[in-house]
């Protein structure tokens, strides 16, 4: 626990001392919301088909998740760099649990994703998104995103533990990143998808993250889903399981890499 906190603290300190990274991380989600949101909105003539909600409300959780995915990819990159430069060896000769080394990285990635999520929601509000009025729901939504971020961080860390080549890492991570994002209800409602796509989306943890987010953070989730929302408890179970499996994969790959 102490080691995780130390490594988290170190990553955050480096982040706060790096204005370029901070700027990029904060500006990216704003660009997504504004450019993508406004473009789609003009195409969809203001409101979502089948619901009275503006598209920006619909896509905000998608952008939150997209940013979390991007953050996790960045976290994997940091990990790969630390491995290649031997910095991981300093951790390995220290009397700390192996898992805490990965957790320090994943938790700092998650923290950054939280910042991004908050910014996205603020920009969304400015653009007319309709948030729920329950602060507890917002908090729950952030925790759900954190769990999702942890899961995908795990996938990124596991890939970054298995390759010594940054190009290969980025190519591999996209294989996971794209379907996780597009084969889900992030940008279009489940109800309007062809059946094969809906089935694909229903085995994707992203779908459960976003559905949970809509239910906890936004008004009128039924309208957003274009039908009955998924049970909220199921969203939690899937996301937490995803977090556990992701970190489990990362841990296994890391152990193998140091044999």
């Amino acid at each position: 626990m102490a080691a995780t906190a130390t490594l988290w603290n170190k990553q955050m300190r480096k982040f706060l001392a790096n204005p370029e990274e901070m700027f990029g991380l904060l500006i990216q989600p704003i660009l997504w919301v504004v450019l993508f949101g406004v473009g789609m909105k003009s195409m969809l003539s203001a409101d979502m088909p089948g619901s009275g909600e503006p598209y920006v409300t619909f896509m905000l959780p998608g952008i939150v998740v997209l940013s979390a995915l991007g953050g996790a990819i960045g976290g994997g990159s940091v990990w790969l760099t630390e491995r290649l430069r031997g910095i991981v060896k300093e951790y390995l000769v220290a009397p700390i649990p192996r898992l805490s080394i990965l957790m320090g990285n994943a938790l700092s990635t998650m923290t950054k994703s939280m910042f991004q999520a908050i910014i996205i929601l603020i920009v969304g509000l400015v653009l007319g998104a309709k948030l729920s009025t329950y602060p507890l729901g917002w908090l729950g939504g952030l925790v759900l995103v954190a769990g999702f971020g942890l899961g995908f961080s795990g996938i990124a860390l596991s890939i970054a533990s298995q390759t010594d080549n940054p190009g290969a890492y980025h190519a591999m991570i996209m294989v996971f990143n794209l379907p996780l994002l597009f084969l889900s209800n992030a940008l279009y409602p489940l109800a309007t998808m062809p059946t094969w796509m809906r089935i694909g989306s229903l085995i994707n943890p992203t779908t459960y993250t976003i559905d949970g987010l809509r239910q906890m953070m936004f008004r009128d989730p039924a309208a957003l889903a274009g039908g009955d929302p998924l049970p909220l408890w199921l969203c939690w179970v899937v996301v937490l399981a995803f977090a556990a499996v992701g970190m489990g994969l990362a841990y296994a790959a890391f152990r193998k890499s140091i044999k």
């Binding site: 490594l7 480096k14 430069r85 300093e90 390995l92």
Partner: protein
Amino acid sequence: MNARSDNGPAIEARGLVKRYGDEVVAVDGVDLSIPANRIYGLLGPNGAGKTTTISILTTLLEPTAGEARVLGLDVVKQAGDVRQRVGVTFQEMVLDDELTGRQVLDYHGRLYRMDKAERKAKTKELLALVELEEAAERKAKTYSGGMKRRLELARALMTTPEVLFLDEPTLGLDPQTRARIWDYLRALKEEGGMTLLLTTHYMDEAEELADTVGIIDRGKLVAEGTPQALIEEMGADTIHVIGEGDREAFVENVSALPFVQAVDVGRRVIQVGVDSGSKRLVEIIAQATDSAFAIQDITVAKPSLGDVFLKYTGRRLRDTDSTQTQHRMLLMS
């Protein structure tokens, strides 16, 4: 400082083997026994197994076979305890250079659960020791190579280790910085009571620092002793001969001489260990004439650790061509 319950060796290894797959044997049955408060120099060419040996002793790698203990603790079964009590510097620069020098030391102390006051005091002391006080608030990426090495050394000392492992501590540094690092290391042993194991492929470094030298080649420890004892084995003096002609005959004839203690044949140089160089020079030259071997250059020198190394490994340390086959003859008197 050395809170040992028994008086056994600080570092010991028995039959240490590290194999990768079926083909590569990085360490091939190394035995070590290093008493506390010594500097042990592991000497060998690149790829000899030095780094792998250190990696096993510092718990980074598990051995394929054999066992090792540091401060009496098994490096596999009690890895956590070993980690708590040793310090390590790596062959390559391992620094998070986005951090300042002070932050590097502070985070390291935190990983070892030192409290704030302790970290502060130790950081101050070590920055003074390695003379980095003025650079302490700068990011490490602005440091020169020598400064980075000194910072790494300070980091390894942050947790007051009882045993310090240093993999090529002065690799690529200028002579001045090297001499300064040697001074620190000597002081750690003399004043700090530490045990140091360092690897190097610099002869002068081993000769300068080590109480005991182990020569490692192709994963095996081929010789061990004090630098002095190893050098004395070579004979009192060494005559270096370079020439053309019937080398085989010359070597054979010289080896047969009663006062010749060792003959080592390198690619160019033939080294002849004799009891007294100046006295025997003439007789060696006479042998050359008899053997139809034309001497181009002949010098008398006190043997060095480099000559010892050549004798045991058949290679000069700086030789890059490790595949060369060399005729080698040893005559131990």
